[in-house]
């Protein structure tokens, strides 16, 4: 019994050593990338990788987190990543990357973008839900270095916050890695990316999301601004909140008021009649009165109905205009109408599939907006002026 036990202990002890802790690395011996910007340098035929490394500086008892930016070049993305070791002296990990900013120069050659996406998807470290975005500045690196050195803010966290809180605004779209790759691969839908710009306000640089880039597979077709992005979100049933400023005419005077979106639902239905495909968009949106720039009381039934109608017409018009713009200028089905057809009318899709772009450009889209005003926040009557 005793010798057996002894032998077992010996065997276990030795076998523990045989595994050799192959993956054991102390946490402070690695660097964690929080955000990456990728540009392509055509002269050198190399990628320029700019990374933001999260570092924390312990001063006495308090610890402050800071982002530090490093740059390195490489023939491929992974090569550039490994080349960073020469600068940092530590292996860098992609596990905690929050955002990847793609520079315009990467888009020049489709294979450059594909190489980047393949690396992000193939490597075990990056998460599939990291946010992808496109720089509208000359290089992506400009975005990443915009805040430094004046601010200690970490761009990676900042971008993550911007995209996680987009629900309250609905003026830009967060595109995770998996979604972009998914859309590249599936027929009947084209990918989009949010675009970033650097603004200077009172001598301080800030990063803003100014809209959306429209792609046709890997080719950049053009941009949409913030309000257009809102209507894009509306069409794709992605509006979760946000405010709509509406100009309305009542009693002969123009009033500017704001509606806050509570809930919105969009139904997309393809209808095939008389040899023609028509997309029917039914949008049901519940809003509340949020800010009235007039003394007119919109809580009365009549006024409210009037307002609902006015606002619905306005939204309808703008959505139709956006669809037309995308059809005419970009010829890219970013709304995923093709996918809807494929799902709901598979037989028809088999016919249209091969030449969907042409069909999309000529596609008739009927937009129907139902707006319901529910609630007027904490007060019923608008602010009254003394008569």
């Amino acid at each position: 019994m005793k010798t057996k036990l002894f032998q077992m202990i010996i065997i276990i002890l030795f076998s523990l050593n045989l595994t050799g802790c192959w993956n054991y690395v102390e946490i402070n011996e690695k660097s964690f990338i929080l955000a990456t910007a990728l540009d392509y340098l055509p002269e050198q035929s190399e990628y320029l990788e700019t990374v933001e490394i999260g570092t924390s500086i312990a001063v006495g008892e308090s610890i402050t987190l800071k982002g530090e930016v490093f740059q390195c070049t490489g023939i491929t993305v992974f090569d550039a990543t490994r080349n960073l070791i020469t600068i940092l002296g530590e292996k860098i990990l992609w596990n905690h990357v929050q955002a990847v900013i793609i520079g315009q120069s990467v888009l020049a050659e489709p294979n450059h973008l594909i190489g980047l996406l393949d690396f992000l998807r193939r490597d075990a470290e990056p998460r599939e839900d990291l946010y992808l975005m496109l720089s509208k500045e000359k290089t992506a690196a400009e975005i990443l270095t915009a805040l430094a050195p004046k601010s200690d803010e970490i761009v990676g966290f900042k971008l993550q916050n911007i995209f996680q809180n987009q629900n309250y605004l609905s003026k830009y779209k967060a595109v995770p890695l998996w979604e972009f790759i998914d859309k590249l691969a599936s027929p009947g839908v084209e990918p989009v990316l949010p675009t970033l710009k650097v603004w200077t306000t009172r001598g301080k640089k800030v990063i803003v999301v100014d809209g959306m880039a429209v792609f046709k597979k890997t080719a950049l077709q053009g941009y949409l601004d913030q309000m257009e992005t809102r209507y894009f979100l509306w069409i794709t049933n992605a509006v979760k909140g946000g405010v709509i400023p509406i100009q309305t005419k009542s009693h002969g005077e123009t009033a500017l008021l704001t509606l806050e979106i509570f809930r919105s639902n969009t139904e997309t239905k393809p209808v095939y009649q008389a040899g023609k495909l028509v997309m029917q968009l039914k949008i049901n949106t519940t809003v509340g009165l949020a800010e009235l720039g007039t003394a007119i009381d919109f809580t009365s039934e009549k006024q409210r109905e009037q307002l609902q109608k006015d606002a619905a017409r306005t939204i309808e018009r703008r959505i139709s205009a956006l669809i037309r713009k995308v059809q005419d200028e970009y010829q890219s089905d970013i709304f995923g109408f093709g996918e809807v057809v494929a799902r709901k009318m598979p037989k028809l899709w088999q016919r249209l599939k091969s030449d969907w772009t042409t069909s999309f450009v000529d596609l008739q889209v009927d937009v129907q907006v139902q707006l319901e005003i529910k609630g007027s926040a904490t007060i019923a009557k608008p602010v009254q002026l003394e008569e």
Binding site: L5, L16, T19, C21, N23, Y24, V25, E26, I27, N28, K30, F32, L34, G54, T55, S56, I57, A58, I63, L65, L93, N95, H96, Q98, E125, R127, F157
Partner: protein
Amino acid sequence: MFKFIKALFTKQKDKSKTAAKESLKLSKSLAKNLQMFRELLQGDDLVVFREFTNQHYPECKFGLIFVNGLVNDEAINENIIAPLMEFSGIQALKEKSLDLFLKKTLITNKAIKETDINKLLSEVLYGSTLLLVEGVNEALLFDTTDFKYRSITEPIAESVLRGPREGFTEAILVNISMIRRRFASPELKFKLMKIGKRTQTRVCLCYLEGVASPKIVADVTRKLQQISIDGILDSNYLQELIKNEKFTIFPMTYSTERPDVAVAKLLEGRVAILVDGTPYVLTMPCLFMEFFQSNEDYYTNFIFASFNRLLRYVGFFITTSLPGIYIALTTYHQEMIPTPLLLNISAAREGVPFPTVIEALFMVLIFDLLRESGIRLPTPIGSTIGFVGAIIVGQSSVTARMVSAPIVIIAAITGISNFLLPKMLGSLTYMRLFLLILSSVLGLYGYVFGVIAIMIHLMSLRSFGVPYMSNLGSLKYQEMKDTIIRAPWWQMLERPRLIAELDPIRQEQTQQQVEGENEN
């Protein structure tokens, strides 16, 4: 080789001793008897030999043997010596009939006739008084035991906010009385035996007839009788001597200092062993989940008690796994830590010279060190241990960058959770170290392998034939009712079936309860 020689020697010794004692017998001569006892008890100056005669019939001589300090002097003087001296029943004196003495003159409630020298000796040395009469080859034993013992106080190790406050003492009879007082039923049996060749320690086996499994009672009795150790000073001697699974880190018997807990265990059909000289009473068979139960669970509202019960399971997880999981995450699976936390840990570790494993082992051991040293110290010095632990080890080691702050937090939480299961401290420490080392070698895989190994071991254990993990994997309500939560008393309908196999029904469901359930 050594063993063989040792065994040879011990056997020889034993034989010669017992042979000598066996040949001794009480003779009819008082002087001879007294001389024999004087020789047997030679060297013990506390033994008193008192000779006296009857006033009316001086030929009738008496001899008393007792140990000074263990006996009640008043009882001997008033109830034994005085009546015998003044007894005027000449007939009885002439006949020298012990029975007649017992019937007519001796005013003691506990007296027996005995001829076995060994028994006489051990009784005398425990406080009985031995009466020898001239011309009689029998002796009378009176229970005059009266020595001081610690008064009944609240047990320090098992204090409760609500519930009975008395705890067992070192005197076995007092302990038995505390159990009996709670249990006015003849089904409760007490079996006294003496264990320990030299100490002759009184041990009492206690069980509820008709509920406790006879197989288990017989098993425990047999094992107790087989013990041939020289002395028993605490119940842990028995705990280790009678357990089936010799090599396990888990306690296979439950021990308590509280009579209410002991009675609750007896009611569930368990067997209790009381040992003279220790306030710790053993109960068996023992289940793993017993260590998650506290007697206070049953004295407070079941909703609150269930919360406390769950807390103990969480504490068990934390105290065994937290250091291991921390190491696995920080050294192998950094992707599983939220980013800001990761950066904080990374910053805290900056400049720390040791690997995380060494840090963790160091801190976990330091905690055990502080605990162990704190227990033995007198209370006034004990508080300094707290200061030293908190300030020097905690604060200074972090500011001096000897260890990182997170590991101090981990060690502290681990240590505090430790005390949620105070009766399992030893096993918890081993499990923690086991999982910690495995995690440091293989990451989360190692942790999971460790958990699997512990589970396999636990599942294979049996305490007196009852599976150690029983009822933890059950899906029957009556078997689950007292595991993860503490069910209300009106739903405690059954005793644990594997232990109380003779009578598993604790209470019948009353009409009121049935109605209440239908309403729900």
